[in-house]
């Protein structure tokens, strides 16, 4: 199941992802993306790829499978 993830270190708050993929990404009050961790609905895959390509710093990624269980912080 593909999910959308953002690299929070690379992210600079450009906000393209929220514009192109509003179904899954909204911006917080500082301009940084809040990404829905639900699996990507099949109909949105094309738009999601466009959002990934539009990010000026390539912080947005499509990940499959979902990340494994945390082994500790």
């Amino acid at each position: 199941m593909t999910t959308v993830r953002v690299n929070p270190i690379a992210c600079d708050g450009h906000g393209m992802c929220a514009e192109l993929l509003p179904e899954l990404v909204t911006l917080d009050e500082w301009g940084y993306p809040i990404v829905d961790r639900r699996p990507l609905p099949p109909g949105l895959e094309r738009v999601a790829r466009k959002a990934v390509a539009a990010c000026p710093v390539l912080a947005l990624k499509l990940v499959s499978p979902p990340p494994p269980v945390s082994s500790g912080a």
Partner: protein, 423 residues
Amino acid sequence: MTGVKSAAGGAARQAAAGLPRLLPPVPGDPEELTEHLARHGRPRYHGSALLHAVKSAGLTGRGGAAFPTHVKLAAAKEAGHPVVVANGAESEPASEKDAALLYHAPHLVLDGLALAADAIGAGRAYLYLHAGHAARIQKALTERRNLRLDPVAITVVAAPARFLAGQETALVSRISGGPALPTFDSRRVTERGILVQNVETLAHLALISRHGPDWFRERGTRAEPGTMLLTLHAGGRPRVTEQPIGVPLRSALGLTDAAAVLVGGYHGTWLTAAAVDSLTLDNAALRQHKASLGAGVLAALPHGSCGLVETARVTRYLAAESAGQCGPCLNGLPRMAGALAELAGPRPRRSTLHDVERWAGLVTGRGACHHPDGTARFVRSALTVFGAELKRHASGECTATERAPVLPLPSGYAAPTTEEAWR
């Protein structure tokens, strides 16, 4: 090193309980190799037998996450070209247990490191700790090198005095020659073949190697076996003590009276005195109060001190220790600190409380590491437990009679502003 004493109840009760396991019964100078071998004997389980023993023993990490150790060992072994790191960078200001262990029983930690390295086929081993402790452990390392005790060379890497220095990815970054800053990688550190274990975990592993899994399970609960080191702040100097997991929290703390207790350190949770009375020292019980043991810090807030003032002090420290790499943390934590400072004072604005709660929600889960999550958990628990105090502050009063700070912070602390501060 002072401050290490047996739990309330005295040495006799401890000895009867088979304690202490880790620290010498009468801790004084660092335990030398001969003393260490006299106390523990030699390791019996090695290699895959040791891995099996660790699995049967049910050892979990003592660095705060309580992750099953055998899973990490297996994953690192499988990843290829494994490397072991003993994480002794005890960056939590309120925790002293790793420092005590490294000082009093360095050979137990080094045994664990060598045994783990051998068991997973690691080509290299590292000991990661703050500069002061690095100097003190040199003697133990030299002793072992002279006797060619360890199959792998142990490299000591100095950790900077940052709260995040002990974070797993920051540790890897530092050991690789970079700054101790968390990184974002889709693969877990263990999946890259790097086994990071807290020094206390390795010490337990070294004992399991001698006495076996059944012995390990003689103490603790079925789900969380063994003992753990605690750092207790209950008036006077902090004390490091070893307790079986599952004992009543109040007896572990050795306290008669407190307004509230902070469990799990500065990423932990405040609990009311009533909750503390009903709880035992294990994660299964604490989970019901959204708390966890963390790295074993228990700090009592005396009556007469203000929980909000203490929380505000620590939150400011946590905010200052942000790596500043992720937007939500960089923006959220300083604002939360400012808001807590306002709530800790007289007549805060009504909007401030809503702001903190909103920010705590916004920063959780949105950083490259769990620093914002832990800080938010700590702050939220304070707002819950000190709700009555919040109301009093709103009318301009505070129940505190005592101004002296309770929760420890590095002396002369100032927020870091240079790249060097992260190396």
